[in-house]
Symmetry: C2
Subunit: 336 residues, 2 copies
């Protein structure tokens, strides 16, 4: 390995000079500079990251931990969009993105958190599912929670208006004349997923506000993000369609694919027999049969704000925690 010392010797100067040439610091005589640059080229010198980091402590690694491929063979595009936004914003600020996959299993989170608990990263952005406060408080980097609100652990978080937009979607169905409205959502016994819990609340609130009965059989909970969300959607459709619902809100677009598959098999029609609105917005929804109505969350903004939160936290570790809630929007197509 070629070191700065080698470059210095080859150029007949000290490492001080080499370092200053590389980092463009103090004024170095033009000819000295040229000698150094030539030595660097000749020896194909590359700086040593570990040496630099040890000395400067300028850590520019951020870990991102997302459930990017849970529940679907081809990945969760919602989180892919967020990942892009995170990357763009981190890159803009000269940070590297160290990626981890989470899978809604707290054990995995423990491994992911521990893996980087050695001053390798300057902070983490994640959708965490873990509630062990002692463990979390012993980590030596700041954490930004994304997509849902961690109940007990104090940290910055960014999320969307899950409750309100679900209420709005149900209200749209009611206004359109549907009265027997079902809901298919993640098993909210999982205390780590406040977003899914809030969606259910939005559904219930809308019914209540419109004096519609809340029927237990109209609500079907699925194991979201654990096995196969499409298959879960199929099974859920099978159950819920037999209860006589004429409209359904689904917490997740992959399960909506399963719903479509069941509907096709059962020779039901969307929206004539059952109307449908799902969370998250992808291109294929325009060519599904019929095109699917969805709730779009502002993924680009989520990613951007998450990075902003983290960088400002790194900059000022003791400032008060921030909670950002971004608005989603309802996109109506032919499934309603």
């Amino acid at each position: 390995m070629v070191t700065m010392k080698d470059v210095a010797k080859h150029a007949g100067v000290s490492t001080y000079t080499v370092s200053n040439v590389i980092n463009n610091l103090s004024y170095i005589k033009k000819e000295t500079k040229e000698k150094v640059l030539e030595a660097i080229k000749e020896l194909n010198y590359k700086p040593n990251y570990a040496g630099q980091l040890l000395r400067t402590k300028d850590n520019r690694n951020i870990s991102v931990s997302l459930p990017l491929l849970t529940g679907s063979r081809t990945g969760n595009a919602f989180f892919n969009q967020i990942l892009l936004a995170l990357y763009v914003e981190l890159n803009k600020n000269n940070y590297n993105l160290v990626l981890s996959f989470s899978d809604n299993n707290p054990q995995t989170d423990i491994l992911n958190f521990s893996k980087y608990n050695n001053n390798m990263i300057a902070g983490m952005i994640c959708t965490f599912t873990l509630a062990d406060i002692d463990f979390l408080n012993n980590l030596n980097y700041p954490i930004i929670a994304l997509d849902h609100k961690p109940e007990e652990f104090a940290c910055d978080y960014i999320s969307t208006d899950n409750k309100q937009i679900t209420q709005q979607a149900v209200q749209y169905l009611i206004t359109s004349g549907y009265t027997k409205i079902g809901y298919i959502g993640a098993n909210y016994s999982s205390e780590y997923q406040s977003n899914h819990f809030e969606r259910l609340q939005g559904y219930l609130d809308a019914l209540e506000k419109n004096h519609l009965p809340q029927k237990a059989e109209y609500i079907h909970s699925i194991n979201l993000g654990l096995n196969d969300d499409v298959a879960e959607g199929y099974r859920a459709a099978e159950c819920i369609c037999k209860t006589g619902v004429n409209a359904v809100v689904i917490d997740n677009a992959y399960s909506a694919i399963g719903f479509y598959k069941y509907v096709k098999k059962a020779k039901l029609r969307i929206p004539e027999d059952v109307a449908l609105i799902a969370f998250d917005d992808y291109e294929w929804q325009e060519i599904s049969d019929p095109p699917l109505s969805v709730i779009r969350q502002p993924t680009a903004e989520i990613g951007q704000k998450a990075v902003e939160l983290l960088l400002s936290r790194i900059d000022n570790p003791d400032k008060e925690y921030e909670h950002i809630i971004l608005p989603s929007s309802l996109i109506i197509r032919d499934s309603v």
Copy 2:
């Protein structure tokens, strides 16, 4: 910051002892070990990554650079699947995944390559588009090329049987009675994308083998992965459907979405008016109208083998370059 020295002092031992306790090396007396562990806990000591890396040189960072979100607002699920496979395999081998996004722009590649050219990573896996050999040869980490074969730069690469599977798809169409077969594919003037070039060759070969004429107007090239692949597919459909083709192979599933959109607008029927086979295999294709026939590439295996290639290259830098070609498969649904 709490250092090993602090721990040593607090426990009344030397850093040698602390280091050995942490790394479970030489035998340390039980009580000494306990003292050290307690000091670590009490001071909440975390090892310093830079110090460790500088001393041990055991670099466990691998950079992955993929066009994860090019050409589609919601991401390219093909590469997401590969990303998962890469992560799983890297994780299994105790490597961290440092992520970069490429975008089919050589300038972006130069930035991505340079960013890590400071001994921060032990190697890179990427779908590169760059042909500057001098630049590439000056990087100080090994590169595994994924998805296509770099023409001039000598390195390991892994890809799929693009030519053969495309030929097979066209053969299927011919055998099914289609004779006027079109092809929509990436603008293969881009010399960096051998995979797209090979697909076109497979298409042409199949025609030739069956003594069918190769008509220029049956071939439509699109700017894949640069702007909006769906919109490109729509425009391509518009053109190619007017030439009288009765079947089309599309080099990419997102453009197939655009194709469907055009077909719907033009009130054409698939497959009665035009049959369709596209590359890459996603869940939504089962509920598109009609379900889409596709070519499935073995993404999990691609990712796994890519990591294998890289780790064995790191292990043995001077071994001969390997080229792996994996077989794809044809999945026939109702669009044919």
